[in-house]
């Protein structure tokens, strides 16, 4: 299945086309080419696996995720402007059209940029008009799903704060996502992904299990983690002294 992955929760405008199939032999729709891709991808993620006793065994247990095309630009003010051009370019690079997509996966943050909503509404509107499901993905999970399998992911929350979450060796989130000062972030012996951005592949990896079970996705709700900044009016000042 071809999936469009989007994320606008970090300073990067991220869009890409990712091929996803179930572990070899477990799904009917696995194509011949995917088995090779499965081995290649699984081989590349050996470092990810605590007990990688051969590529074939890993391939049998893991979904096959292959990034076909990606367009990423780091510019926190260009989310609204660049996202649609990026996703169309990635689609063209992949040699497909939007009608070939089987699903959309979108980073839901947490992210401090108003651009976060650009990614979510773009994903929702595309899925709506194409008649395919849209899967929400915690952006920190998408970063953690990269090949280095980090134990701690930290991103910029502005206002001198960070968003963070921790992950165990299997890649499962163990704490977070939270927003707070640097001092509140726990020490870790594992890998630290500090101010990284997710890849389209990471976005799809983080949603792979849900997509492959064809479960009805949850709503594309942003992980704001903060209440809107708004003050109720103070008692009106008199105009006459």
């Amino acid at each position: 299945m071809l999936i469009l992955a989007l994320d606008t929760a970090t300073p990067a405008v991220t869009a890409g086309i990712v091929r996803l199939s179930g572990p070899a032999g477990t799904t009917g729709d696995t194509e011949a080419g995917d088995t090779e891709a499965a081995r290649a991808v699984a081989g590349g993620t050996d470092a990810n696996s605590a007990a990688a006793d051969g590529a074939t065994a890993v391939a049998a247990a893991r979904p096959v995720v292959e990034q076909v095309a990606a367009r990423v630009t780091v510019d926190p003010r260009a989310h609204g402007e660049l996202l649609t051009p990026h996703l169309l370019e990635a689609t063209a690079d992949a040699g497909i059209t939007l009608a070939d997509l089987g699903a959309v996966a979108v980073g839901t943050g947490p992210g401090p940029y108003t651009g976060l909503r650009a990614g979510l509404v773009t994903g929702a509107a595309l899925a709506h008009s194409l008649g395919v499901p849209a899967y929400p993905v915690c952006t920190l999970d998408a970063i953690a799903a990269g090949p280095a399998c980090p134990a701690l992911v930290v991103t910029d929350a502005r206002r001198r704060e960070v968003y963070w979450a921790t992950y165990d060796a299997s890649g499962a989130r163990t704490d977070g996502p939270h927003v707070g000062s640097r001092a509140e972030v726990p020490e870790t012996a594992g890998h630290v992904a500090d101010h990284e951005q997710p890849t389209p592949e990471g976005v799809v990896r983080a949603a792979a299990a849900e997509i492959l079970t064809a479960r009805e996705p949850g709503p594309l709700t942003p992980l704001y983690l903060r209440r809107p900044h708004a003050a109720e009016p103070t008692p009106r000042k008199r105009v006459t002294a």
Partner: protein, 348 residues
Amino acid sequence: MAKIIMGIESSCDETGVGLVAAHDDGTVELLADEVASSVQQHARFGGVVPEIASRAHLEAMVPTTQRAFDTAGLSMSDVDTVAVTAGPGLAGALLVGVSAAKAYAAALDVPLYGVNHLAGHIAVDTLQHGPLPTPCLALLVSGGHTQLLRVDDIAGTITELGSTVDDAAGEAYDKVARLLDLPYPGGPPIDKAARDGDPQAIAFPRGMTGPRDPKFDFSFSGLKTAVARWVEGAQERGEQVPVADVAASFQEAVADVLTAKAVRAATEAGIGTLVVSGGVAANSRLSTLARERCAEAGIELRLPRPRLCTDNGAMIAALGAHVAAAGHKPSSLDLSANPGLPVDTVLV
């Protein structure tokens, strides 16, 4: 064959999605006009909170779009063109609509037009009263804008003759409502209270009407302060504030200045048609006075029904229909929202 235009509006606190049919004879027909409003979420803050509005737009966008298609009995593949408010408005709010419109246009593989919200308020009248005679004059009054515009071509040539130098007319309503302990937004409760009041009871000032003031600009800040002074004076004397009279006299001052300047502008320019639109156009005193004064001056008044006057997607679809029919080049998909889009830029 009629063309189907989808319009998306998200410049302030209403998420609007409209569908119109553009016929070959230049008429546009309303097929659907769905609006989700976040106004009640802003009420306790006494004004629109941008972050709350943006969050609400994101939640409402797809469901509102689906409702529009359900109402019109159309499917998405019927759409020939997508139009969206590119500005002016709140940055974060506009971003949601513009992003959604780009995605819909890309997925449906149809042209996208990023258009001006203010021009949309004028174009909406063509859904009710047919093609606009040109030139015509437009008075736009709402919580966000108060402008007098000359329209030579709804698809491209709009000139500002005057605008407010301080508060928008709708803002003055909100502030006076607060002063009188009436709810937000202030337009409807002041209009209601004024029905039982005497519009001549208190002589509130008419802003910007001195001999040396700009002829077609407006000012409502002084009026708001005058109302506050008057109410505080009554309270200090231990008198009961006559809410109905204050509301009626305030409303009279607003409607008087707006209609006097609009009719004068039309008369001086020899323009025979006045369109009054925007949320405040639904105000009963404004519409009554506009009718009287236009009739006296021999000017045709075009007043869209209240539902069309407030922010909605149908007005953007209607404008998109006119812009597309005029043969203008569609917007690029790297279009960005422009919160300060000037009124003379109809298409981005």
